[in-house]
């Protein structure tokens, strides 16, 4: 067997106490394509980012062609032959294709400090030719299609080849997740082509793709690489079992069945559409019901949440709350109607890091906490303390800045922000378990079930099947912006496989 070009030994990485990578070891051989799969939060992206020098591991070694590398930044990783194509495109839209491809390595194309455009274009064309891409090097990047921009990124990663005089190792972080069928074909074709001149590590949610292009497939679960198999040795069912086959914690016990008979319809969504996000979405959510929407990133689930909270507008369709059609122009309208929203991006959208736990918790309901025109500070303090206790938020004090709390405790604060509202009717949870460790998850699961029992309507959007299955009475599956499966509370519980196959 050939020597590996890239060897990863015992890599570990934690974020704020949550383990993202746990003793991961992988070998990549020359001209090999490794498929990396796993649920969200399994650590795939973290692994790629550590390899590319974007993040630094807590422990472990990365060895490239026999030499250990301490990649402290992307440039150093590139110098050792590792290039990355990010999930969110990282090309500059306002310069030419050639400038993007040679960004940071323009030296050969400089004459007395100025661009020698002819050389620059020639160098860029060399890279584009490797991909057989007929993109003009002088084109403005913003004018390219999404797929073409991705080619530019791949070309940039390939340029490492000349600089290191070795075949590069190219990392792809979910290159196809935002692409349609045609775009996906193109990218997979590119990976096939790269096999002739590079090693590839490729992360994807879509198992069929992984099986098609990978030589070996590595399955990650909870930060660990649980299995590495040759393509010939496995099929989709095997991989699914490996991905989901962890021992189920008590938290993952299935939600008890619920009879929606005679229950009030809390939220009714009728033929809701938003261009490029979701199309013709209809469903009903009853009081006391948890409705889970299983959807991969970019399948329209997040966008739907935002629409139901007034943060994005639908083009057509109707939202009916408690039998009344509502118009949500901004989130404030939704809050006034008793809708709460726990966003997926906690740090950017859920928590004001510089404000205390107290201020964060009451931010949405200060109007209910007034005495005359003023905030009733004593009442506020009491309320906040009771919720800190009830949700077991571990914080030194009620006024501790929220950014000093762990992710799990921050998430509890975000939840409390809505739960203190006196007229909360509907709670929208957008990937509420993201980045939480198993202990906090279990608490969250219990809490969400309890809230539903008390009569709250809960709309849950998540991309992990377990989460949706464990919490939801009824399940709606979304794929590419349309509903691809429905499992109402009244029908028999679907199997994981039934849900998963409608997602991917």
């Amino acid at each position: 067997m050939t020597e590996p070009v890239l060897r990863v030994e015992g890599l570990s990485k934690s974020f704020a106490g949550v383990c993202a990578l746990d003793d991961v070891s992988i070998d990549v051989r020359p001209r090999e394509v490794i498929g990396l799969i796993g649920e969200n939060g399994a650590g795939k992206s973290t692994l790629l980012k550590v390899l590319a020098g974007v993040l630094r591991a807590d422990r472990g070694r990365i060895i490239v062609r026999g030499t250990p590398v301490s990649s402290v930044n992307v440039a150093a990783a590139a110098a050792s032959g590792i290039g990355i194509v990010f999930q969110e495109q990282a090309v500059l839209p306002n310069v030419t294709v050639a400038e993007n491809i040679l960004l940071g390595h323009e030296r050969r194309a400089l004459r007395a400090g100025f661009y020698d455009w002819r050389t620059l274009y020639a160098l860029a064309v060399t890279q584009l030719d490797k991909l057989g891409a007929g993109i003009s090097p002088s084109a403005l990047t913003a004018t390219l299609s999404f797929g073409e921009r991705q080619l530019v990124e791949i070309a940039r990663a390939l340029a490492i080849e000349e600089r290191t005089r070795h075949e590069p190792i190219i990392l792809f972080d979910e290159p196809t997740s935002m692409l349609d069928a045609h775009g996906t074909e193109t990218v997979l074709g590119q990976i096939e082509r790269l096999r002739l001149r590079a090693s590839v590590v490729f992360v994807s949610h879509r198992l069929d793709e992984v099986l098609r292009v990978s030589d070996r497939i590595c399955v990650m679960v909870n930060g660990r690489c649980v299995s590495t198999r040759d393509r010939a040795m496995c099929n989709i069912a095997d991989l699914e079992r490996l991905m989901l086959g962890r021992e189920l914690d008590a938290a993952y016990q299935q939600q008890a069945p619920l009879s929606t008979h005679g229950r009030k319809v809390r939220l009714s969504v009728r033929a809701l559409s938003r261009q490029n996000s979701y199309q013709g979405v209809s469903f009903e959510l009853h009081a006391g019901e948890v409705l889970g929407i299983a959807a991969l990133a970019g399948s329209g689930g997040e966008s739907l949440c935002r629409t139901l909270f007034g943060a994005e507008r639908a083009d057509t369709g109707e939202i009916v709350l408690d039998g009344r059609a509502v118009r949500l122009r901004e989130p404030a309208d939704a809050v006034r109607l008793g809708i709460g929203y726990v966003p997926a991006e906690r740090r950017l959208e859920g928590i004001v890091g510089g404000l205390g736990v107290r201020e964060n918790m009451t931010l949405a309901h200060l109007d209910e906490l007034r005495r005359g025109p003023f905030i009733d500070l004593a009442g506020e303090e009491q309320l906040v303390k009771s919720w800190i206790q009830r949700l077991r938020i571990s914080t030194p004090a009620a006024d501790t800045p929220a950014h000093d709390l762990s992710g799990g405790n921050q998430q509890k604060v975000v939840l409390a922000k809505w739960l203190i509202g006196r007229k909360l009717k509907l709670l929208i949870l957008d990937h509420p378990m993201r980045g939480l460790d198993i202990g906090v998850k279990a608490e969250m699961f219990a809490l969400i079930r309890e809230l539903a029992r008390e009569g709250l309507g809960v709309l849950l959007v998540a991309d992990t099947v377990d989460e949706v299955m464990a919490l939801s009475h009824s399940i709606v599956v979304m794929k590419d912006g349309v509903i691809s499966g429905r499992f109402p509370a009244t029908a028999a519980k679907p199997s994981r496989l039934q849900v998963l196959e409608r997602m991917v």
Partner: protein, 332 residues
């Protein structure tokens, strides 16, 4: 080739990223502006002892009032994460209007002019919030428009021909303290209480720190911003009024030289220019510091040309001392 560090086998990956830390603690950071004010006072007092006499301090207080009023309004806007460059121009416009209309209309003029400047502020806020234009741009344009308008209305200084008593009370003393100063301080304190105790105050801080979170918590961000700029407009009008009282006249350029000092006062006090951190107590210290600098440098006989240089140095060092660098990290 791999540019790995010289290897003796296996360099482990360093365990922790280095954190950017502030060089001084939070407590020191909080009291640094006050320390700057006191040392500045003592320094000028050491060179020119009469500067600390009751009379001089009275003059100082009187002198600080207009900057205090402007800085108070500016603080609200800066806490929101914006800036209002038009405040001085609006104050000048207000001074002209007051001086022109007082003789004919009398004290009612003040109500009308203050309503007008408040409206000007809200229109700027409206454009900023609804048209998604940076407040810097909107108020820079406002600066041009309102000072131009003031110049069209009055080419030169307009003495208050009659009815001065409507504003003149600001120039007398009560209990040895200039009324203009007491008035500015009272206005600041009313606003400070509002910021601390009204939901609006919380909203302002939340928007300044994390506008997106505020929006997704159901705060009507646009409305709060418009209100903030309206307050800045109101305080511009109040500043114009105080200046008419002080000079017994209005002029289209009367407040021009106060724009930067009033913004500097906010920043020197320790309110973050990026929004969400700070408050009016700090602005009070900052406004006094700026005034001591202006008056003090003249008292010790320094060429007035040095004054802006001293501002520059002071603003820079105040921010260097008060900024919390631990927040400068990338938000993950």
């Amino acid at each position: 080739m791999t540019p790995a560090p010289p290897t003796d086998g296996s360099p482990p990956i360093p365990p922790e990223d280095r954190e950017v830390r502030s060089r001084i603690g939070p407590a020191a950071r909080r009291f640094a502006p006050l320390a700057v004010l006191i040392s500045l006072l003592s320094a000028v007092g050491a060179i020119e002892p009469s500067f600390l006499s009751l009379y001089s301090l009275n003059v100082l207080a009187d002198e600080s009032s207009v900057i205090l009023i402007l800085a108070t309004g500016q603080t609200v806007v800066i806490l929101l994460g914006g800036i209002d460059l038009s405040m001085a121009a609006v104050a000048s416009l207000a001074s002209v209007l007051i001086a022109l209309a007082l003789p004919a209309i009398g004290p009612g003029t003040l109500v009308g002019v203050l309503a007008l400047t408040t409206l000007i502020g809200s229109v700027q806020g409206l454009i900023h919030a609804r048209a998604q234009m940076p407040s810097f741009i909107v108020t820079l344009a406002g600066l041009g428009v309102w000072s131009g308008l003031a110049l069209i209305i009055a080419q030169t200084t307009i003495p208050v021909a009659a009815g001065y008593s409507a504003v003149g009370w600001l120039e007398s003393n009560s209990a040895g303290v200039p009324n203009s100063f007491s008035f500015a301080l009272a206005a600041l304190m009313v606003l400070a209480v509002a910021l601390r105790r009204l939901p609006l105050g919380r909203y302002i801080y939340a928007i300044g720190m994390a506008e997106r979170v505020a929006l997704l918590s159901g705060i009507r961000v646009g409305r709060v911003k418009i209100l903030g700029f309206a307050l800045a407009g109101l305080f511009s009008g109040l500043a114009g009024m105080a200046m008419v009282a002080r000079d017994s006249s209005g002029s289209p350029t009367i407040a021009d030289s106060l724009l930067l000092p009033s913004i500097a006062a906010v920043v020197i006090g320790g309110t973050s220019i990026t929004g969400g951190v700070g408050g009016l107590g700090r602005t009070f210290i900052g406004a006094l510091t700026i005034t001591v600098l202006r008056v003090g440098l003249a008292t010790i006989g320094l060429d007035p040309a040095y004054e802006p240089i001293a501002y520059g140095v002071l603003v820079m060092s105040a921010v260097a001392l008060t900024i919390d660098r631990s927040k400068a990290q990338i938000v993950k």
